[in-house]
């Protein structure tokens, strides 16, 4: 059923008894053209674009729990394309253009809100670095503005500007950045993919791959064998675990990243603000809670929960940036498992085994990439060639030295 003002009015007369489920509960069939492992944003987006752009309808999305129960429901919902490197900028800007028309495309309110992403700088050297990044963005057709301290003060007067330790000198602003409602993105893609005939199979965990004549011919799951000519992985956080079932060893470590939300308060923070003297980002949800996070805990983890030293560290950064935060109570903190690749950039490529395709290594930047990741992975799986804007994300780049290291810290995944 299409969501529109007319249908809303029509349903109002029947006491809203006529709404149908947004997607059907599918049982696994014996064969498909394409199987996507992982019912998060990336997997569902891939299935949607496979059906929509490439005309494949025999597509299944396998999810071990319920859709959106992994990192799609654990992120801080920030969307932006303020990157520096030529390998990254076109991809994330493509993603931003897909975000801008996502709701019309999916006929679903994903609450995409372009309220701006402001990266603060605190020294002359950092101003130079941010000016360089802003120039790189503008050269690629991405909007960027370098603000001085007075302009930042007009936008966000509640920041602590004049501390001796981290004085705020200004910020790099991307006005088209902002946030979106993460669960709605998952549900919107699921509903739209379902409408095009995609089977969304929940509570179906992959336990192994079917290998035939040296190629992957499908998967073994807790709900039986499912065969397909092509199998794609979109299981960031668990990419190493699933790839190991196919005998692969990848340039990825799994790390825990924590996020936090406070009680709801009246509108305070206009967009997304990041602290340049550490690693801290904050925005305010539509419900009013301050949503924020910082660095990885720093050790390998699949536990989906972190430890207290990082809680203390993130809260200290928050207090250094916004002293008024000390007056609100923190409601919840949680952890997600990040696919930390060795250069901090993702992998969208064919696996070294025929019939298997990789989408992973999203580090902690996977949410903003959801639409482009789905688009490019669908392109790769349907046509067996990388999409133009995802050419840099080859698995072979680690062996050939063509790494895409945005932060420039080398092969140390807990620093990306």
């Amino acid at each position: 059923m299409r969501y529109s003002i007319f249908n809303l009015v029509r349903q109002a007369f029947s006491r809203h008894s006529g709404w149908t489920p947004a997607w059907r509960e599918a049982a696994p069939k014996a064969t498909y053209d394409v199987i996507i492992i992982g019912g998060g944003g990336h997997g569902l987006a891939t299935a949607y674009y496979l059906a929509k752009v490439h005309g494949l309808s025999r597509v299944a999305v396998l999810e071990k729990r319920y859709i959106g129960s992994g990192n799609a429901g654990r992120n801080t919902t920030i969307i932006r394309s303020n990157y520096l490197l030529p390998g990254n900028l076109p991809f994330y800007e493509f993603s931003m253009t897909l975000w801008e028309r996502l709701e019309q495309e999916l006929n679903y309110n994903a609450m995409v809100s372009q309220r701006g992403v402001l990266n603060l700088f605190h020294s002359d050297a950092q101003r130079d670095a941010f000016a360089r990044r802003g120039n790189a963005m503008r050269l690629h057709g991405v909007d960027a503005e370098l603000l001085n301290a007075a302009a930042v003060r007009r936008m966000a007067p509640f920041l602590d500007f004049d501390t001796a330790r981290f004085p705020i000198h200004g910020g790099l602003l991307q006005r088209r950045g902002g946030s979106a409602r993460h669960d709605a993105v998952v549900w919107g893609y699921a509903r739209a993919a379902n409408a095009l005939g995609v089977d969304i199979i929940q509570n179906c965990e992959v336990t192994g791959f079917i290998r035939e004549a040296g190629r992957v011919a499908g998967v073994e799951t807790t709900r039986g064998e499912i065969r397909a000519a092509k199998t794609g992985m979109a299981v960031a956080g668990n990419t190493s675990r699933i790839a190991r079932m196919a005998g692969l060893r990848l340039p990825i470590e799994s790390h825990v990243l924590q996020a936090f939300v406070t009680e709801a308060i009246k509108p305070l923070i206009p967009g997304v603000i990041t602290f340049g003297a550490g690693h801290f980002y904050i925005s305010q949800s539509d419900k009013g809670g301050l949503v924020f996070g910082g660095d990885l805990d720093g050790y390998n983890s699949y536990a989906q929960r972190g430890n207290l030293p990082m809680v203390e560290n993130v809260c200290e950064e928050g207090m250094a940036l916004i002293p008024a935060m000390g007056r609100v109570r923190m409601l919840r903190s949680w952890g997600g498992v990040m696919d930390m690749s060795m250069d901090g950039s993702p992998i969208i490529d064919r696996a070294p085994i025929e019939g298997l395709y990789l989408n992973g290594g999203w580090c902690y930047g996977g949410f903003k990439a959801t639409p482009a990741s789905g688009w490019c992975f669908a392109h790769l799986m349907a046509r067996d060639e990388p999409h133009e804007v995802a050419r840099a994300y080859r698995l072979s780049r680690f062996a050939t030295g063509h790494i895409v290291d945005e932060k420039g810290v080398g092969a140390q995944p807990n620093l990306h």
Binding site: S240, R241, I252, S254, N300, S301, Y302, M342, A411
Partner: protein, 87 residues
């Protein structure tokens, strides 16, 4: 998460710095040294379960420790000095 340092006793993890997988080896004299080097720098087993890793007690005795820890639960299974099990 607390780590039982052989010198300092049980200390919270914030005192330690993490250096990752303790089990990647490379032999620079081997004929396939280039492949070994690539694998040691980039490829990881990344297990969900017991994981051998290096921790540095930076806010304590400054020793390098070889810790076996379950990555699913953060439970510390064994701690020893890194030099007794050279990497």
């Amino acid at each position: 998460m607390r780590i039982q340092c052989p010198f300092c006793g049980e200390r919270e993890s914030g005192e330690f710095a993490y250096f990752g997988d303790a089990d990647h080896h490379q032999n620079f004299n081997s004929p396939d040294a280039q492949t070994q080097s690539f694998e040691a720098v980039y490829l990881r087993d990344n297990p969900a379960g017991p994981h051998n890793e290096l921790w540095y007690h930076s806010f304590g005795c400054r020793s390098w420790l070889r810790v076996t820890r379950d990555t699913r639960t953060h439970e510390i299974l064994a701690v020893g000095l890194a030099k007794r099990n050279p990497i």
